[in-house]
Chain length 461, copies 2
């Protein structure tokens, strides 16, 4: 338009680096990072990050070079989140639970589709996601954030304010940190919430202030949500993927839900809700026809996203990128339904759906019932091969200390609360394998179920 200009005074590329620059001015002498007895202020953190960027530069690192980091939640990884992009380079955070062979594969990253994919974020997307995350968490200007989520998971961009980091996540450590640092916000997968609600009373502390907990990574069983609220935590349920910079939706709480019975409250809170402010569009579509499914709570489809907080693509894997964006939407691979109010509810990952005798069984629904059994600490349900049914549900269960239950009791409990075809035919009691973010590794359990062989054949032998 006539009379207007685009110049350095009115146009600045969006980057989360500028949040640090601003924090170093506005919150100069306030605590930025606490780790054990170590404390930094925002001015110190900014200076350390600038020196880190300078050191990387003098090592010959420059624009678009990839700097990989293998570290738990220590201040160094936080600083690398700023220092690496300040040097113009790309930060690649590796999972500390990988073994050396996997780390070696990742460090060589050659362009195959079989290895884990490297999800590429932009400065612009990270900037916008940070603002959306702060709003999503209803964060005031000086929150105290307890880092229970590993920073190598979806990066720590989103929450660049006061931080108290926990290297090892234990219920005792969480309660101690909350009391010591007046934690206002934290995040954690449902298994972390489960750890909190099952903490022995000696490890617990009374909450003096409200602690807002963002949960996600897996749909939280209503029972777990219910117990958390009882303890005084305020749980917000969000859902997303690494490809959506972490949370992409939030189950925005409606005031009228306050009058529902506690059980019903937990059930609606377990829905994934709607897209947050930084995401432009959310839909559930038939993956073939790309038609939106009706909001009837029954019809299933694939959850898809559009927006600035969707990844740029998979590093050196154009085929996977093109597949993920086929049809102009990011395809999550998650299966869900829509409620009449528009809120979405995940039914399963496509690959976690159990198909038994032609019926689709949501492993999440079966798990929710098993979690509500008083003796159960953790549960995961996968398909077990079956010559007759194709698959039947197989439950892996960890009981609470001092609790007892046998397979028949669990199966009967499920048949009392679910259509019979959905109840597990097999129950295995054991520790559940988990990722570093506390997500249960279903692929490990799926393999174990496969190794058991067909239930029908076995029983017929």
């Amino acid at each position: 338009m006539e009379g207007t200009v685009k110049c350095s005074a009115n146009y600045v590329p969006l980057t989360p680096i500028n949040f640090l620059e601003r924090s170093a001015i506005v919150y100069r002498d306030r605590i930025s990072v606490v780790h054990g007895d170590l404390k930094f202020t925002w001015a110190e953190t900014r200076d350390r990050c600038a020196r880190l960027a300078s050191a990387l530069h003098s090592l010959g690192i420059s624009r678009h070079d990839v700097v990989a980091v293998l570290a738990p939640n220590i201040p160094a990884i936080y600083e690398l989140h700023f220092g690496v992009p300040m040097a113009g380079a790309v930060l690649c955070t590796l999972n500390i639970r990988h073994d050396s062979a996997m780390v070696s594969t990742l460090l060589k990253h050659s362009g195959t589709t079989s290895s884990p994919k490297g999800v590429v974020y932009s400065h612009r997307g990270a900037y916008l996601n940070s603002l959306a995350a702060a709003l999503l968490n209803e964060m005031p200007s000086m929150p105290v954030y307890l880092w229970t989520v590993p920073m190598f998971h979806c990066n720590g961009w989103c929450l660049t304010w006061a931080v108290a980091a926990l290297r090892n996540v234990t219920a005792k450590g969480i309660f101690e940190c909350i009391a010591k640092h007046q934690v206002s916000h934290m995040g954690g997968a449902p298994t972390v919430l489960n750890m909190i609600i099952n903490a022995p009373s000696v490890d617990r502390r009374l909450l003096l202030g409200k602690v807002i907990v963002m949960t996600g990574a897996a749909p939280p069983p209503p029972h777990v949500l219910f117990k958390m609220e009882e303890l005084g935590f305020n749980v917000t349920h969000s859902y997303g993927l690494t490809e959506t910079y972490g949370p992409g939706t939030v189950c925005t709480w409606k005031p009228e839900w306050n009058s529902l019975p506690p059980d019903a409250q937990a059930k609606v809170k377990a829905r994934q809700g709607l897209h947050h402010l930084g995401m432009e569009e959310l839909d559930i579509k038939d993956p073939e026809t790309m038609q939106s499914i009706p909001p009837d709570t029954k019809t299933r489809g694939e959850v898809m996203f559009k927006g600035n907080t969707v990844m740029n693509g998979y590093f050196k894997d154009s085929k996977a990128t093109v597949d993920a964006f086929k049809g102009g939407w990011f395809r999550s691979g998650d299966v869900g339904v829509r409620h009449p109010d528009g809120y979405i509810e995940l039914k399963d990952r496509s690959k976690d759906i159990i198909i038994s005798g032609g019926e689709n069984i949501s492993s999440i629904e079966v798990e929710s019932v098993i979690y509500s059994h008083p003796a159960v600490l953790e549960a995961a349900v996968v398909g077990r091969p079956d010559d007759y049914w194709g698959e039947t549900p197989c439950a892996f269960v960890k009981l609470k200390d001092d609790c007892n239950a046998n397979a028949d009791e669990i199966i009967k409990y499920c048949r009392d609360h679910l259509p019979h075809y959905m109840a597990p035919r097999t129950v295995v009691f054991r520790e559940l394998p988990k990722t570093s973010t506390g997500k249960i590794q279903k692929f490990v359990l799926r393999q174990k179920a496969k190794d058991m062989g067909s239930l029908s054949r076995t029983s017929r032998l």
Copy 2:
């Protein structure tokens, strides 16, 4: 980077229109706008705006056409903030207090520098400013915002959530709306706050919840801030210009200030603070050398901004645009100092500084003292021409109902609280002329002081 793509699924131009699209989904059946007995939901507001855009289109309005609106705070002006940009056009909000000659000039907008300037905003800037404004106001997901600030002033972009609009701003109306609609947030110039604290007790209502009030437009006298907090309002002080989409800085409250005596608290709250999250840089510079001034609370310079929430320029006035951005910064024309903690404090608009016998007198500092006099309702100080001193301070004062004070008392009070050269030599009791946003029109008073003629010459006659 190899493997990445830019497509409709991961790159969307930033526009506040999408906030409305999202609200129509997430807050579908919640109240969007309340005006008297009229109420709309977000789904209705979105539909009305879409129909408005369609109607504009069928009238032949298209991309880059300017649609001007002359309206008070009624729902129609709110809807135009979305409907006009939805049609691709440019919204131009006119001040309802302009006379017909001025409106005629603005509608013809020919490219002269003498008329009021048309400040041009971008969709991107408005989007980013909206997010920053929500964070700045510490807004939860469902605030109730009372529109006491005219929407034609800096536009209503910034706060696109639940809105209760007041057509005419009176203290009685404000207290009634707060009680009726459980208002959580509102905004207002110091004169609006002054109206609130001086409301007769019959018009007042007890505040049941915390009401966050954003004030700005003029530096609020500490005394006014103090009384507002006493009434239970939580006042946040921000500062900006139309050119910065409204608020550009905020006086972020430091917890340690809670232990200061109330008077001292009001004094620090009257500082303009530091740039908000959507603005990239704030500085006070010598306007000639462009050197930053030291943070010594004494050295004065011009307040300057850089960031995405700075205007694109002045419509059809390239010369004014170039002048405003000279040196790569947006020059505010405001004079300020910096405190050692970095917070800025305005001393005056360049043109409001009174130069008396070679001394710079901040009209704001003199006004702050006059406001603290128990009989004073409102005050404004300008320079009166003086053959000997160049200028001397001239105070225009409005007393509270049932209160008395004469000029000598006001002058003595100022001499007791200020260096003598800063005390007014002239005090005029009268109504103060104001803009529609409640800002006192100093240019009118300056003319009145000029018409009085030189004080020294007069007294020597």
